[in-house]
Assembly symmetry: D2
Homo-oligomer: 261 residues x 4
């Protein structure tokens, strides 16, 4: 069965900026979804900020294996309720791929527990991505390095938790470096951050970038059934203890009471 993927696009600059509209006439989200659908193992659809619930209803998330997120100008417009809903889905097993300026999206910051800040420059400079983990599934089929002739610069230090793995590090023409491909797990959900993708440049038309995205979607897919309640904190009563024990000492909780939150 193919990996059910939603490409979430903010869809703001595509509507308001001629340059962006020229590069991505159907929106960045559709460009990315097309790139994903080129792989028969992936079935990608799209969702945007402007839709009801930003297109991310509980029903739809329940039927989604991987969510790809691109946002920039309108991070603040994303509803907290939807952020928590997405976080729950990730903890329950949905994969999440955060692209470029999504480093400052509410959902990425929520899952990192960190500021996710960096330095930046928009000068159309050359970026060269280097593999740091050869033969990592996310790098399948890629050479040891590839270039994007025009990109926005993001520079270290990048304010994220130490990753599970560093997959790519970027070199920038202006003298900076950046850990541009990083993995984490949160609950049962696999998370990948991928740096390139400034909307003023044709990055998502690049074949190597498209290959990374397809690889990443397949890597992020956790085929296990979604965890129904990723917050569950069940009491295991004494009578059901796996090894026979007797209650001793004083007690704070009454029988059958739920724990405090």
């Amino acid at each position: 069965m193919s990996v059910r993927t939603i490409v979430w696009g903010e869809n703001v600059h595509e509507q308001t900026n001629e340059v962006v509209a020229g590069i991505y006439p159907r929106g960045m989200h559709n460009c990315i979804a097309d790139a994903l659908n080129a792989d028969p193992a992936i079935t990608a659809t799209t969702a945007t900020l402007q839709e009801q619930d930003h297109g991310l209803t509980p029903e739809r998330l329940a039927a989604t294996d991987v969510l790809v997120w691109w946002g920039h100008a309108a991070h603040g417009d994303v509803k907290e309720e939807v952020v928590e809903r997405v976080a729950d889905a990730v903890w329950g097993g949905m994969g999440l791929i955060a692209l470029h300026s999504a480093h400052f999206s509410k959902i990425f910051k929520r899952l990192m527990g960190a500021p996710c800040n960096l330095s930046w420059r928009e000068a159309g400079e050359r970026e060269r991505l280097w593999l740091t983990s050869r033969n990592h599934p996310i790098a399948a089929g890629l050479p040891d390095h590839f270039e994007l002739e025009y990109e926005e610069m993001y520079g270290e230090p990048f304010g994220v938790p130490e990753p599970m793995e560093t997959v790519f590090v970027s070199w920038f023409q202006g003298g900076e470096v950046f850990r541009s491909g990083l993995t984490w797990r949160r609950g049962a959900g696999n998370i990948f951050y991928f740096r390139p993708g400034h909307e003023a440049y044709p990055t998502f038309h690049d074949p190597n970038v498209q290959l990374v995205l397809r690889n990443a979607v397949k890597w992020a897919h956790n085929p296990a059934p979604r965890i129904a309640d990723p917050h569950a904190a069940p009491n295991r009563p004494t009578r059901d203890a796996l090894e026979k024990i007797s209650e001793r000492g004083p007690s704070l909780h009454e029988k059958g009471q739920e724990g405090f939150r």
Copy 2:
């Protein structure tokens, strides 16, 4: 100079429950602070939920190296504003030690980006903590294992991100296990979670527990100056690039503009 430490106590059950008041007549926070102050390298004071700003004003946090947090019944009463203030301090370099039921505190969940859930049982059963990282600074002076005759059980799976290091794993009489000493870094702040400490038992009077707490405070202390703004995302203009480059291609941002958030 000694490590300036605040022991934050919720201070609810000590006021409302006779058992807890009997074990900790001056509150758990004072018992813990006394244990820390036994080490001349530490200067510990206390703060409680009931104080203005929960005792955690910006000025006081700015002069604090390590914050120790114990809460249980009143997690929900901690103000969001204070949670964000503490998170900022941690990202800027303040250490944080979360004790026992603080796994569900707002500040710990905020920094983990995860549900932090577990299973539990209050039966006064025996817990035995095993070192998994011999000679770790947090385990200095401890034997390979030590026991707490009466404790609440916490069981795996524990819903936290993979730690930087696992320092202790607990065995429970009723048949469960728990990763009971875990470290992470978030920004410049060192974080340690330590499992024992149910308020119905005299855990914080235990000499081994007190030694762990003193070790942990010293381990968590980052002597570097606090980062003033842990969210800063500075633009590095083209004219100041470390390697000479020229702007090329289209541009989205106007000169001198701040980045989107």
Copy 3:
């Protein structure tokens, strides 16, 4: 295409000890291989210490995706040359699953760069394995805990490097705990250590253990082409630099010279 797997068995106690021969009449390696072959996605064969090259010729390793290793009494009899050959295969992308007493095998210690020591007791006591990473691929289809009524005890501290992920932690009847499922990556190779499997007990007949093994083989499989020379340290001559540079300053190496090793 199915995952080409070799189950390597030391095959000593099966030949010399009646108890072991009774439990595993065709050897532990065949019992494990049968369990793996129950999954159509896996094709498992066996190799033993007694064969030429211990059954691990260069040609055979080149055609192997995952190697499962069980050894105990005869670690010292495994030839260094074969150990290095297997290590090269792992660095190049072959998966390795080390079982039980293989914690002291030459190949596991070689890849860990650590003593891999632990404490132990052979008393036929109860072991209960707890998931610490719910919905991890290696735990697919498993309950949150499962028991082995008779097992040898292994106790912490376990002298291995901090893992990429902790998947299982064991509880033992006699009071110890152990991190019994751990993952690492070395080069392009995925490594999993799984604790149970003392030869005096029928552990490899247990359905949950067999499920872990099938899951682990599929998890460890890296489908990328094997890296031909995992030690390659190529010179990138100045004339081929990706960014135009000129040689400056003094020079130690002559042109075209290989680096020192």
Copy 4:
């Protein structure tokens, strides 16, 4: 008490190459030791390949907190026996700092369990090191980036295990990047790899490099008593079990027997 440090230098090119001798007339090891001794918290001495036991007798290692290692042309001349002795000291708690071409030293490869390979070019190009972990103790007092005008290039992928932390990433003029400051723990020993230090350039005279080395020595110091036998795998007999158990089932080991290795 100050951190007792040995700076180990191969001391070959200083004797045979005029350029190197000109930059480091008393050898690189003495230049590094002088830089360390500028900090009153450190007491650094030196040892070289040419001395008996390469200057690393058991007695001397037993009285050493941190070992700094630089080697290049003569990795192959280091005796296996000394490598194992140093590895034992690290597992027991001695810190190790591997510099530059020591990525291919026997001791570093031994502790990594990996090929530790990379690509390289000697062109006297500019290297710029960026912090990736702001306020890390190893980066204390450093700016976010610093430059070495003349250095040998090392390029990714770097064949080491995923580190505990990435502290520095380097930018190279010719277009490559490298994770140039990485930490690991092996047993009780802290390990830091630091990339710069080609012998044909005056890198170890650089104030920022010297500051990193001083910070790293203090970071790597584990003040706990050295573990006497880091390979110990003690039997815990049934009669001494922490929880009362009885022996059951068949048995492979005779009473009091040591485990197999």
